[in-house]
């Protein structure tokens, strides 16, 4: 047990910081306020990820045969920390490199690898994740979007009907990583498959769901008789649940949200200091508490990265880290409102933006309660009913 960064890791962090200082445009701060799904950030991410790819960093943790550098997960996590700490200029592409690409490597055909992996590692493709449905939220295995195999001449196609909801980033996405039911007689986790589908396929319609979180944040994706060739199937038919479980096993902490929260907190504290608020013992108490929370989330995430670096099977440590990261996000989102006070009434002000980005943390990527259920059964081994 030791908690030092290697010399190489420290150098990498420094290089990434210098790179960010050189690459981020002057209006980045403003751009990043809208989150990874915002229009300007989505456009910028294509340019930025291209630059990261040129540096060899975008997919440095991937195996050499797929254009990576076989770097340890720790190295990739340093990149993730530095990216989130400035507001994630990779936009939604963090998903591509963290889990969509690796799933294609693991389950994909040679043709799928040849089609998708070079695009992802070049940093010029946007993906979205089509899992949730109106009737399948926390209970994802209740999903009903149907992909039916139909023969047309000597060819076979899937015809997809149904809808997905809450799909982040899908307004800009080139592809959707789509979870469908391929066996109509199946229920729950059996009979589900993953399809990799271009978003411009006829029959796909995206509608925005207006929300208090921000503009173009939530979407519904409708599939009406969408015909796709059968070679979009990832992995074996009907075994999509395994694909998703494998893909997401570490993803719940894939986003270094604590790094973003810590940056926000530093900003809040500086503002508090400038306004003489550090004389107020309540403010001091809240700031100290929040800083401890950021650090606590960080160490629990590190624990998960350590497991991944050692190739250990996933454990409930992921859920521990996830819940604390959520608490951290929420606490700092609320604290910003308190420190900025009435100023935060202004839409898109610093505190307002942070608050809106943080407020969904306990629901996105699986509700906190579901994480707590998993901790109870897997970590504490408490009995089921």
């Amino acid at each position: 047990m030791e908690f030092d960064w290697s010399q190489q890791d420290r150098e990498h962090r420094q290089e990434v910081r210098e790179f960010l200082a050189a690459e981020l445009p002057d209006n980045w701060e403003e751009m990043s306020r809208h989150g990874p799904g915002g229009d300007s950030q989505a456009a910028f991410s294509r340019h930025f990820c291209g630059r990261l790819a040129e540096k060899g960093w975008l997919t440095q943790h991937w195996p050499g045969e797929y254009g990576g550098r076989d770097c340890e997960p720790w190295r990739h996590s340093i990149l993730g920390e530095e990216m989130w700490a400035v507001g994630e200029p990779r936009g939604s592409q963090y998903m591509n490199v963290n889990w969509i690409g690796p799933s294609i490597m693991h389950f994909g055909t040679e043709a799928q690898k040849a089609l998708h992996l070079p695009k992802i590692s070049a940093g010029d493709v946007l993906w979205c994740q089509g899992f949730s449905e109106p009737e399948a939220g926390s209970d994802l295995a209740a999903l009903r979007t149907r992909a039916e195999k139909v023969a047309s001449g000597s060819d076979e196609h899937y015809v997809i009907n149904g809808s997905k909801i809450w799909t982040s980033y899908c307004n800009h996405a080139d592809y959707i990583f789509l979870l469908v039911r391929t066996d109509p007689d199946s229920s729950r986790t059996r009979g589900i498959s993953v399809l990799l589908i271009p978003m411009d396929t006829p029959g796909i319609e995206v509608r925005e769901i207006p929300s208090v979180v921000g503009e173009r944040y939530f979407h519904e994706v409708f599939f009406t008789d969408v015909r796709v060739p059968c070679d979009v199937l990832l992995g074996e038919e009907h075994t999509g649940w395994n694909v998703v479980t494998h893909a997401l096993q570490f993803e719940r902490v894939g986003a270094a949200r604590y790094a973003r929260a810590a940056l926000t907190l530093d900003h809040i504290a500086r503002v508090a200091a400038e306004r003489g608020m550090l004389d107020d013992p309540i403010v001091v108490d809240r700031l100290g508490e929040a800083r401890a929370l950021c650090e606590a989330a960080r160490v629990l995430v590190y624990k998960v990265i350590d497991l991944r670096a050692k190739g250990s099977p996933p454990t409930a440590d992921t859920q521990l880290a996830r819940v604390l990261s959520t608490n951290c996000d929420n606490a700092i989102g609320r604290l910003a409102l308190e420190i900025f006070g009435p100023e935060s009434r202004q839409y898109a002000s610093y505190a307002d933006n942070n608050f809106r980005l943080a407020m969904t943390a306990g629901v996105a990527v699986g509700a906190t309660e579901v994480q707590l259920n998993l901790i109870a059964s897997r970590f504490l081994e408490l009995p089921r009913e």
């Binding site: 700031l287 350590d306 009995p383």
Partner: protein
Amino acid sequence: MDFELNEDQQAIVEAVDRLLAQQAGPARATALGNSDTVEGSYDFALHSALDEAGFSCIARDLAREDGTPAALEAALIVEAVSRAGGVVAAATQLLVAPALLAEPPAGPIALCTRRELEQGTPVRYLAQASTLWVVDEAAVTQHNLEDVAVAPVRTSFGYPMGRIEATGNLHSVGELHNAAADARRWWRVALAVEATGTMQAALNCVVGYLKQRRQFGRAIGSFQAVQHRLSECAIQVEASRWLAREAAYHNAPEEAAAVAAAFALAAADQLFTETHQLSGAIGFTHDFDLHVWSMRLLALRQELDGVGGARRAVVDARWRDATP
């Protein structure tokens, strides 16, 4: 970066756990707590056993090549002693003392702030300690307690406590100049480590119980309302553990030490409240081990200005310079 124990650390933890399995544990802690003598309320046997096994000076003995003490190994031992409910001043001995003196005094050391001494508040291990360190703004004053009248104080909070009857007899036998900041940093790490071990044991005790205890025809631990609260507790304990170990490893940097204490001492409150609430009436009795750890958590929360003091220290270390 490596969160797994290496072979040497594994061996240390196993050895100390073996020793503690024989010489400590909740039954022994309860028995010592019921002792009506001052001597009998402190585990001098365990104290000596830890000395003899080489655990007490492990920080120095296993120091790294550049001389930095092996504080992580010391922390692992203190965590284990706390888990076992040991009634010994191991945290001060293993974590605070090596940072202040090359040759710390033998025998239990009690630790208090100048204000606590002046106000005559009960201090942990004071009645049994041979040395008292008083932490001032700038210096740490060392006192030999052999000829000083210290009265044991009855307390609800798990550790033996004492109070100096007449401070007139209290003479400094040395001042550790400029040591106060170091003492505070290490004291906070020590509190975080002790709180971690103590919280872990309290949680284990209650989780074990709630897997067995049945009401309404099912194990109470199967109710989701109960599970979520225990899961939240588990998160608090795990985070406290890694913050404390990391702070020890890095030799108690001011901010990290304060962060570890701020988090762990806040967690201690949650653990106290939840473990008692979820145990029902049995949890308040001497027949149930929970009290050995739970009551101590509240005592730990009062040292060195507690959570509030630690949070203030976090802000001072991280942002105070930013004040215009």
